[in-house]
């Protein structure tokens, strides 16, 4: 009972139960309202972007270690899924349909193990080495996948058994996104989350206050890799075809970075908000200047970093350094306040 009461308090402290129920109801009923497969696919992709951006934000925003190659975990997840459902013999996986569910967590675990292998050498060091090493990992992984032709099909890629079911995909991604965002929200309030923020703000100080910074960074990185890997695996199955050039595209990382920066680096609701705006924005930009859209994204990123580095929630939040931001945020952003509300 005590636990339920606490959950209730948390919900009411974060916008009220009715707004949440309304949101959940709309999202749950959306497939019934819009039977078009294309609309469902778009929504599914938005959920996916929110999911991976929230994970990027865990290491890039909350911990302050910007990951310029986070799409590599998406790719590893996608390829593990591809390999598991095509190359691995049938007697290990039950069937194409069930095999998918078996492969999802395995793909996540694979991404997580890879994160451990990359994290141990690079996150031991403070400073920018991690960021550049991840950029390198991403560029290199595309080529390594090409070289591992017997498993990955090289440049020709892999065809996955086509099991099209847009409604199933929609609900899966909706629930998955819900789990991930809830986890981020929980982490932000946990001792672990506080330690991550401390690492971001002053790593040496955190270490002097008894926080094992390397361990924290690696664990955050592994969590972020796991869910991104699962998302990638799901994407591979949904897309039914993978090759290095469709899986390892820079745009994925750019979108994760952009969503988090736009919404508010290191905040729980920043990546979902940022991803949503980015999607609307891309619709606009894609429709009018299809080719220029990544160019515009790049320029936009520079502008955000230079002029609105705290993103929308950071600027409008009650911790904003501008008085205008605090004024605008009254009653809007109570969710991000102190740890008091838990008591």
């Amino acid at each position: 009972m005590g636990f339920l009461r606490r959950v209730w308090r948390l919900i009411s402290a974060n916008g009220g139960i009715y707004s949440w129920l309304t949101l959940i109801a709309i999202l749950a009923l959306y497939p019934l309202l819009t039977p078009s497969g294309a609309a469902l696919l778009t929504a599914t992709q938005l959920f996916m972007l929110i999911t991976v951006s929230s994970n990027w934000n865990l290491i890039g925003g909350m911990t302050g270690y910007v990951d310029f190659g986070h799409a590599v975990f998406f790719g590893i997840g996608a390829y593990l899924m591809g390999i598991l459902v095509t190359v691995v013999p049938d007697y290990i996986l039950f069937s194409p349909q069930l095999g998918f569910w078996q492969a999802l967590p395995l793909a996540g675990l694979g991404a997580m193990v890879f994160a451990l292998l990359i994290g141990v050498p690079t996150l031991r060091l403070k400073g920018p080495y991690f960021s550049i090493a991840m950029l390198g990992t991403f560029v290199a992984m595309r080529e390594i996948i090409r070289l591992l032709k017997p498993f990955t099909g090289g440049g020709e890629g892999l065809d996955l058994p086509p099991v099209l079911n847009r409604t199933r995909d929609y609900y899966f991604m909706l629930i998955f996104m819900g789990v991930v965002v809830a986890l981020m929200w929980w982490i932000r309030r946990s001792e672990f989350g506080h330690s991550l923020l401390a690492i971001r703000e002053d790593e040496v100080g955190a270490e002097m206050r008894g926080i094992d910074t390397t361990r924290h960074k690696i664990i955050a990185f592994m969590i972020a890799a796991f869910f991104t890997g699962v998302a990638g695996a799901f994407w591979a199955f949904q897309n039914t075809y993978i090759d290095p050039d469709v899986v390892f595209i820079e745009q994925r990382t750019v979108e994760m970075v952009m969503s988090s920066m736009l919404g508010g680096l290191g905040t729980v609701w920043g990546p979902p908000l940022g991803a949503f705006i980015l999607y609307m924005l891309q619709d606009l930009v894609w429709a009018n200047f299809y080719n220029l859209h990544l160019f515009i994204l790049g320029v936009l990123l520079i502008f955000i970093v230079l002029f609105v580095p705290e993103g929308i929630i950071g600027t409008l939040g009650d911790r904003s350094s501008t008085s205008l931001g605090r004024l605008l945020s009254r009653g809007f952003n109570r969710g991000e306040r102190t740890m008091e509300e838990r008591a």
């Binding site: 982490i187 703000e201 100080g205 270490e207 002097m208 206050r209 926080i211």
Partner: protein, 250 residues
């Protein structure tokens, strides 16, 4: 290791070089449990460097550091902090974008690092201790203020509070009074004495403020050009020719 040692912290022949410059040279130093010890010296004499060596922020080139009978020369800063040695910084390191209370909760008693343990919100004991310490340090009314909005003296107090959170046996305070107004200095003095008397905590104080040292410490070490110049009770140090020379001489 020698667990029967009467000392809480021992530094043996600590040497630290930066490139060609020897910042600390063959310094011996020891602190008993429950003792308040001062460390003074002119600017650039290596006080803060020695401090950083003792708290393991900097690797030591020669010598060793023993804390509670264990050799900590190769341990990492967070391990030393968990063993019960806390410190503050000359340049204040509080988390400006977080509230005073959040600052306190970041620094906390170590209770294991299993993932599930870490994923819990802060322990009720931790929060209670944070509230108690803030009241003890007379910062209770500022709990929800951002640390960046505090005055310099209040930040010093907050840093001391953060250092106290894990309930350490030894506190290293680096320039605890610099930039602090006289009233608050009296508060700091008073709180240090209380902690020392009531809880038996040992202190190592690095200071510019000689008066403060003379007032607080049982023993004082004097550093000059990275070497130990003198050691003794405050009175004899004040009258020591070599010390006067180092401070006021040409």
């Amino acid at each position: 290791m020698n667990t029967a040692s009467p000392y809480l912290l021992e530094g043996h022949k600590i040497t630290k070089r930066f490139g060609g410059l020897t910042a600390v040279h063959q310094v011996d130093l020891a602190i008993r449990p429950g003792e308040i010890v001062g460390l003074i010296g002119p600017n650039g004499s290596g006080k803060t460097t020695l401090f950083n060596c003792l708290s393991r922020l900097l690797p030591i080139d020669e010598g060793k550091v023993i804390f509670k009978g264990k050799d900590i020369t190769r341990r990492k800063p967070f391990q030393v902090a968990r063993m019960g040695m806390s410190r503050t910084f000359q340049v204040i390191r509080v988390y400006r974008k977080m509230t005073v209370l959040e600052n306190m909760l970041i620094s906390r008693q170590w209770r294991g690092e299993g993932l599930l343990q870490m994923l819990r919100p802060s322990h009720p004991d931790t929060e209670r201790r944070a509230h108690e310490l803030l009241d003890f340090l007379m910062l209770g009314h500022l709990k929800h203020e951002l640390a960046g909005r505090l005055s310099g003296g209040q930040r010093r107090l907050l840093e001391i509070g953060m250092a106290l959170m894990p309930d350490p046996d030894l506190l290293l305070l680096d320039e605890a009074t610099s930039g602090v107004n006289p009233t608050l200095i009296e508060t700091i003095k008073d709180r240090i004495r209380a902690l020392n008397r009531e809880q038996g905590k040992a202190f190592l104080l690095v200071e510019h403020n000689i008066e403060f040292i003379a007032d607080m410490c049982e023993r004082v070490y004097v550093l000059n050009f990275g070497e130990l110049l003198a050691e003794g009770d405050p009175q004899s140090i004040m009258n020591n020719e070599a010390v006067i020379e180092a401070y006021f001489g040409a």
